[in-house]
Assembly symmetry: C3
């Protein structure tokens, strides 16, 4: 029987990917107490980056938002595993950290990161509202335009 959050994902037309296996000596997430720390996610789609380059450069603002949304989809896929398959156990999205690959003149980091934040609230409602830190970076792994990490509280 699908849970409340799974039903909501269906409504939103979101199919969570099979989470990527770790390719190095680190884990996609660690559970400590009632907190789940999820590793920084890049906007992989079926194992390949959906976007490359810098936001404000080869990636425009709208695609930057879409890329952040995809990072949150990938966070959810890892979080579901951390919850033993039951996303209804998520009590709160505590914090999202957003890293936007951009030039020194870029100023619209917040709008880009809203792509992740808006999906968090669409999926979890008030429990999806979170603390957030968003900054620019010169470069990200694999030439990704954005990276988002997450901290979640589960029951």
């Amino acid at each position: 029987m699908a849970g409340r959050i799974e039903a909501r994902l269906d409504e939103l037309g979101i199919v969570l990917p099979v989470p990527a296996r770790p390719v190095a000596n680190y884990l996609p997430f660690v559970v400590t107490g009632d907190l789940v720390v999820v590793s920084g996610q890049v906007p992989l789609i079926d194992g390949r980056l959906g976007w490359h380059g810098k936001v404000g450069g080869t990636v425009n603002l709208e695609d930057g938002m879409r890329a952040c949304r995809q990072c949150f989809v990938n966070l959810l896929a890892q979080l579901r595993v951390a919850c033993g398959g039951d996303l209804d156990r998520v009590v709160q999205v505590v914090r999202l950290g957003g890293f936007i690959a951009a030039a020194a003149e870029f100023t619209r980091h917040a709008a880009v990161m809203d792509g992740a934040s808006d999906l968090a609230v669409a999926v979890f409602g008030d429990a999806g509202r979170h603390a957030r830190t968003t900054v620019g970076v010169p470069s990200l792994p694999l030439d990704s335009p954005v990276e988002v990490e997450g901290l979640f509280r589960i029951a």
Copy 2:
């Protein structure tokens, strides 16, 4: 009746601003257990950035420190709300994360971030001493020269 920390803020001549309302789908802070996670703050003064540009560029070292100090003032304003108005409930400043917008040649990030750290200790004494991570970034939201996030333990 003003508390101990409010009295200390008075002595320091600091008036905490009315904390900004969230402008997007995220929150200024989240409380989880006895921890308060406060979103990254830029040096807003009365709703406008007090400084623009890069530290070591249009913003000199001393102004970079002042900007970090203002970020901590803004963290305090949010933290006071998280504490239900009573900053005496703060047990420990656990961690500050400092992001300094600067060129590739800049090396004095630590001195800039001391603007926030020194105020933490001036306000809270030993409980204000914290773990810290400070890094450079190419750009920050709104063309801010600095951004500081905070993690606090409360009773």
Copy 3:
């Protein structure tokens, strides 16, 4: 009597340095509950940076990995103090945050950060596997090529 982790450090030929004293109003670590938050470490060796500059610039990939490994050695030195001298109390490396000073074209952040992650697992085994966020930055304190922060769970 040396503990299990000290014996493992001996096997690996690692001598933990005397941890550096704080030079400003912040601490090398804060313990909150069963978590230890360790401040961002640069690759100091005997009080001096072992490498300067940018990874992919004056610092090649292999030296970037070595520098990340040294950051983890320095995290361990601080963590040992946090544990009252007994690293066997470490239950889990929860999260490492890696900052790689690099140009906008750099893409191999993950490989560089493996220098820290691989040592975490070599020292702690499965308990050393951790969540991780790795990003590029334009500049770091003292012209360091890398900086690594850590979150650990202790008993």
